[in-house]
């Protein structure tokens, strides 16, 4: 028998008890018959994506959950997001996450997102920004690409570059754009900082005179006259999941960051119409795509961002609604996969607290249903019920070996 695995990660779904819900968590308060069905027929546990008490980012957590130690391979979000946006990042390149922003003549930030500029405007501006001529002796090439709304990617390529440079994004309105500074004493970091500062200056010049911005000003829209850069990073060199486990993996995700992590892990990225990474994403289209891709793949990661969005907004009701939509996705998956050969795992990449609106270091619930699983007596899926489950408390890095062992894809250590 050959087994297939579908791993559902609900971003920031785990939470803390809140008074508003009579000291329940949103997951505990939600109506979720399908999630509970999996808990009842599977094995449950709690999982520290990184380690107890450490609030993970979605990038570091997803790396860990896919079996890559983020302490060894992670060097900033930029490169992962670039990969996920379809911008090629080669080893040695330095990638930044960027925002189109609005600044005044003193370079003080007035709007970090240039009024959440529309994709069409951003695309036109990005095209112009791609044409700046750098002095040839620098031997630098760069790529600038807009992604969604105000978000964009900058990748620079050439000799002697380093990701050890600071951000230009002050991450607050009313503050001046920062100079990018080297974070160590290396020649590479100094050179990289100089080049990126130079580019940002040129971007500002081009943007300030750009016809799109003239039209925006005339329409009383915030002009996108600055590019803010942050999260400099290199692409980690890691063995793919095929290489590690001899599986054929795919990823159904909308947000660039998760797509980037999945791509460097060697997963096929499945595009889904209507999957947006927002609260209004087409949940069922993603579930269908995941089930569909199980035909040609044997490991599918299905990622839903919306739970995290609702948490960061502190929207209790919405978070519960989204969990209930995720439950329906699992209903579809349960009805359309073969129970005798499919392993279904559900977890969150981190706790995002509705109360603090931040990622927190609490463990997340995890459950695994499928052939061979040592089903325990947990009958509903929640942060606290899972803590009593048969998996006890594991780490993010433990999950892939656990799943791969159930799939018969792990190699014996010893004789």
């Amino acid at each position: 028998m050959s087994y297939k695995t579908i791993l559902v990660i609900a971003d920031g779904m785990a939470d803390r008890p809140i008074k508003e819900l009579e000291s329940k968590t949103p997951l505990e308060a939600a109506t979720k018959p399908n999630l509970d069905h999996i808990a009842k027929h599977g094995i449950c546990g709690i999982m520290d994506p990184i380690a107890p008490g450490i609030p993970p980012g979605s990038d570091t957590s997803t790396l860990a959950i896919l079996g890559y130690d983020p302490f060894k391979v992670y060097s900033g979000r930029g490169a992962l997001e670039a990969e996920g946006s379809g911008v090629e990042v080669l080893p040695g390149d330095v990638a930044f996450r960027c925002n189109f922003a609005t600044v005044n003549k003193d370079l003080v930030v007035l709007d970090r997102r240039a009024g959440r500029i529309a994709n069409e405007d951003a695309a036109k501006l990005a095209t112009s920004l791609g044409k700046i001529r750098l002095q040839p002796f620098l031997r630098i090439r760069y790529q600038f690409k807009n992604t969604v709304q105000h978000r964009a990617i900058l990748v620079i390529r050439g000799p002697k570059l380093s990701s050890a440079v600071s951000d230009s994004d002050p991450e607050a309105i009313g503050k001046k754009v920062l100079d990018i500074k080297p974070l160590d004493n290396s020649v590479e970091a100094k050179r990289t900082a100089q080049i990126v500062n130079m580019l940002i200056h040129s971007f500002h010049e081009v943007l300030s005179k750009h016809p799109v911005n003239k039209l925006r000003a005339e329409s009383n829209l915030p002009v996108a006259n600055m590019i803010l850069c942050r999260g400099a990073g290199n692409i980690p060199r890691i063995p793919t999941l095929q290489e590690k486990y001899d599986i054929k993996p795919a990823c159904v995700a909308a947000v660039s960051l998760i797509k980037g992590v999945s791509k460097i892990a060697g997963m096929d990225l499945i595009s889904v119409k209507g999957a947006t990474g927002t609260v209004q994403t087409d949940y069922m289209a993603k579930a269908k795509a995941a089930v569909q891709s199980l035909k040609k793949h044997d490991f599918v990661l299905l990622h839903v961002k919306a739970t995290d969005v609702a948490s960061h907004d502190g929207n209790v009701k919405l978070k519960i609604e989204i969990i209930e939509k995720i439950d329906k996705m699992l209903g579809y998956i349960l009805s359309n996969t073969d129970a005798d050969s499919t392993i279904i795992a559900v977890t969150a990449d981190h706790t995002t607290s509705l109360a603090t609106r931040n990622h927190e270091g609490d463990p997340v619930p995890i459950m695994i249903m499928g052939p061979g699983v040592r089903c325990d007596d947990v009958v509903d899926f929640g942060e606290r019920t899972c803590a009593k489950g048969g998996l006890n408390r594991i780490r993010g890095l433990d999950l892939m070996p656990t799943l791969m062992s159930l799939m018969g894809k792990t190699k014996k250590f010893g004789a």
Copy 2:
């Protein structure tokens, strides 16, 4: 909301079931309504201070519980105890824990504690021991200080010293005082051993002729004619808790060792009148001091030694009584802190078995109550009830990140 944490460590409180208590542990047998209240309204678990099965010292355990990996930073108890006794230890210094002892003319130990010599006598002897002239070419300075009763500290300072030297304390009556030997082949270790052996010889000469000892002999008290040295160590260089977590920490503890660990972790040491580190300590004065210091600090470690003392003495009844006194301390803390902003954690630094009278490698119970905690269904505080709690099984090193995450003081790893 800004949160405050009070962490209570009852030294050696955890135990094994004993027949005398109908196979309960002392903690399970004690009447402890306040500890049980915290268990009921908090999250419980078991914790391996170092790792499963490893019996920790109070020093290594407290280091781990405060977030410092003892395998990386610990090099012997001497330096920590010296720091806690108010003796300055600089990087490079080598510190020893010492005992005033009684030996016969063949240097065979008759009493390892010189009849638990009174502080006054020890102080007079220590003053004389501080005045020995070493050969100038050695470029060595040293400090010798008595602490409580027979206990004392020796710190040597100078070039080319090493803590890789053995003890002179044979740790048994009837055995001869040992030569201190280098534990590796380094020049530094050989030189350190020579110097300390020389000092010990000089100490013996001074003590043998000392008027205090003549008076002691006349009064039929054991003479304090030898200094036994053990636990050579350097001071670890570690970032303070302020640096790591941006908190303002304080420690309420009576024993030098815990004060030393706390001091190098950057904690303010709070002196409490009547706090002795013995069974007769003023428990309530310590509880009051801890609550009081929460006004100017946001993290307070409250350490109680007495549970360990009773355990080493094999005194079942006394251990239970002390646990019940600690319960009353928690009652005071509960009544005098704000439940909406205070995190209360209670644990032990290790298991000390009444049966074996030794530190053992069993895990310790741990519980945490406070805002945001995922309260579990454990309703009483014990070694076995806590094993069913929502924290499952953690390590000592996991505790600070867990508490700091609840306080909102951990930094996100990733984006």
